[in-house]
Symmetry: C2
Subunit: 458 residues, 2 copies
């Protein structure tokens, strides 16, 4: 037999062992149920799009896009790829809505949980294949601000359910930055926005230097920009601080009104979970209003975990209608692998089996199958041990090795179940019995305080 | 604003509207729960593999494989792709097991539900991107026959739960064909197997002609081959019929023993759901024993819905160990789109929302949010209507348009729920209320008899 060396995909294509995959599945279920709890419908779009479609709105995204060609065709000619893998789920949404416009109900609330691909240099938190969980609402002509306010509420609900307590949603509104800059006499705000957006990474001195050298801005205008970016409040008090800077502009006023509405709507959320942060802009050109960014407080250097915002013109630019949207995208893979690496995820066992059915001299195969099916009909996960010739001890050993908690002994008169954790063995009614799943076999998520060396949470 | 024409991916990349996607999700949940009910653990492998890995076991598969290159790199040089999209989930399993061998428990029972890509010519039932649902068991050195018998039981369980009553599992064993051919003096059985496997498509005369012209076989040997392929029994009586053909060979005997074990184990399944069919071989070279093939009885011309078998040497060929496996793969996309096209799937509404919360002059936003969160904590899907300025009638209209069944009116003293189907409006306890989800809002699957013009099933 010729043994070929078999290798996995290159770095940047993470794969999970079964025990961590179970955690990912539980998280995906929680995320999906939460999205549906707010009335969002699931769609999936093809992973493969026309290159012309995915590059239409991308600034500099083409370097990250994987083009596709059938191997045989690629070997025959040197044509460029006309197909590529999607790198996000927002551009595909725009294409999907434009294609199915007449078949959808508006406001169209959709969620989409799929893999995306980016040919980035792999490093911590950056992968070439990863799962994104997106929600977006799009509507005709006008989109209610209600939806901008709902987005942070939904993600917070998800993280509370997952037991992740150290993610903060930073919220801003592009109109505040744009209006303020226009009020300062900056006629082309976009390059300034992109530069100030790097404040977190390069600091105020770095921003100042870039604005001076690359955009020839004066020191007092730069001061004014940095003053706005320094405003961070847990509630609507940002508004008074902005007004205190003495700049007046209609777009600015609209932005303040919108962000105030969002912050007021979120007033009853867990303290510290949302922050009006006037430095946040998000790099993408298509955002027009509210912008969101979610970061770990425990790992301030780690990239954004979720992000999104309001895009009033993105979809319209694809099909000549006004279809404003707002959405948020959670980077599931990045979040999961970070918390696992930090030792905060303790997965359960590799296999989902609750009960192993044991072959005994008294049990027939048909009797075991009947027991197994009865248990499965009650939602219990069951394996029949695969080799009737093995001794009971060897069968139990298999259960222990796989982390199967219960063993069922089927005798002529009665069924007895053995709890391999406690060691107790008791007769059961096969139609009524349920396993205890609340025990040590569950996945645990460690709160940030305990992990960071602080006081353990309750 | 420049409106660009935006197009979807080429044909062969199917996309679902939200209502059909909900059906797909329900099916995926059922499939997943059924796999777990039999103790299978979930894994996902990267969609992207080394081209060398995915082509290692493929006969003629390279014409269907999509190679990947970053657009920018592809524009700079003409190197061939070293990465490609997986075209099935069995080869990735082999690679995964060889990579993680020391971290897995054996017998390793895994399921894998993922998209795969094949650059085929699109036609009915053949897509370029589609979802496969695979289960496989692999073990060291020996793999119990128990698992071969379990596979058809699991898929039948799934189809019963989905309400699909016209799929039959055809079962054979490669050793029967190989041993029988060896007994006939055919020293190289594989080309004959591949030809006889086309019996369904080209008929006995077509098979005869091919065997005559391409393999120069004599008429009486061809007769013998066709006699074996004609045997089809609902139970183990195939064995007597094979023995009646008077061919003797050790490999043949082993095959009969194995298939008899499988058929006997399945004796208590729904009548007509499994068939020992000695014509079935499956094209792939790597099968060594049991083979499965699932077809619609109602659409005999339609391609196979699920298929699989025993492969004793596939994994071993990757890493110099004996790691036999057996598995089955369900073509979810093909099955879903066929039944939808045939009018047998009647999806529910586009959105998952149970209740719409109505703005009234007496209701505050905070009160609505509190009610919504209380309902969501009880697993109910809730939207707050997005525009407080709209009249009640317009809000109800939105619910009707989206197929939301209930509207909640929050007044100072009480909460009242209106069933928009029956028209009744009653006060409720918000902590205890549950929606009726068993009504017309559910997805329905039509049994084959009704669809085929027969007597409607109950």
């Amino acid at each position: 037999m010729n043994a070929k060396k078999i290798t996995g995909p290159s770095s940047g294509f993470p794969e999970l062992l079964p025990e961590l995959r179970r955690v990912e599945q539980q998280w995906l279920d929680t995320i999906r149920q939460s999205f549906e709890a707010y009335g969002f419908a699931s769609i999936e779009t093809a992973a493969v799009e026309e290159v012309a479609t995915i590059t239409a709105k991308g600034e500099d995204v083409d370097k990250e896009i994987y083009g596709l060609r059938r191997l045989r065709e690629a070997a025959q000619d040197m044509q460029p790829s006309s197909l590529g893998l999607h790198f996000d789920l927002t551009v595909p949404l725009a294409r999907y809505v434009s294609q199915h416009y007449n078949e959808l109900n508006f406001p169209f609330k959709r969620y989409q949980i799929q893999k995306v691909w980016r040919g980035e240099r792999p490093q911590e938190g950056r992968y070439r294949e990863f799962t994104q969980c997106d929600i977006d609402v799009v509507d005709n002509n006008e989109l209610a601000l209600h939806f901008d306010a709902e987005m942070p509420r939904i993600v917070l609900k998800i993280f509370d359910r997952l037991g992740i307590d150290d993610l903060v949603t930073h919220i801003n509104n592009r109109k505040i930055i744009q209006g303020y800059y226009l009020g300062l006499g900056i006629t082309e705000p976009m390059p300034v926005i992109r530069c100030v957006d790097k404040l977190d990474k390069i600091g105020p001195d770095g921003v100042r230097q870039t604005l001076q050298t690359q955009l020839q801005m004066s020191d007092d205008i730069i001061d004014k920009c940095l003053q706005l970016a320094a405003i961070k409040t847990a509630d609507s008090s940002f508004a008074a601080q902005v007004e205190g800077l003495g700049i007046h502009n209609e777009v600015l006023d609209a932005g303040i009104r919108e962000l105030r509405f969002v912050m007021d709507s979120l007033a009853n959320l867990r303290s510290g979970s949302v922050l009006a942060n006037l430095a946040i802009a998000r790099g993408l050109d298509y955002y027009t209003g509210t912008v969101f960014e979610g970061k770990f407080t425990t790992y301030p250097e780690f990239p954004t975990i979720f992000a999104g915002g309001r895009y009033d013109n993105l979809l319209g630019s694809y099909f000549n209608r006004k279809v404003p949207g707002v959405g948020i995208s959670i980077g599931l893979t990045r979040m999961l692998l970070k918390l696992y690496k930090e030792g905060r995820i303790h997965p359960a066992e590799q296999c989902p089996t609750d009960v192993l059915l044991i072959h005994t001299p008294e049990s027939s195969y048909a009797a075991l199958v009947a027991r197994a099916e009865a248990l499965r009909d009650n939602g219990i996960n069951v394996e029949i041990y695969h080799d009737p010739g093995k001794k009971t001890g060897q069968q139990i050993q298999y259960a222990n090795r796989k982390g199967i908690r219960y063993a069922l002994f089927t005798n002529t008169g009665s069924d007895e179940i053995k709890d391999l954790v406690s060691g107790t063995q008791l007769p059961i009614d096969i139609q009524a019995w349920q396993p205890d799943r609340t025990s040590s076999y569950q996945t645990r998520i460690v709160p940030s305080a305990r992990q960071a060396g602080g006081k353990p949470a309750d």
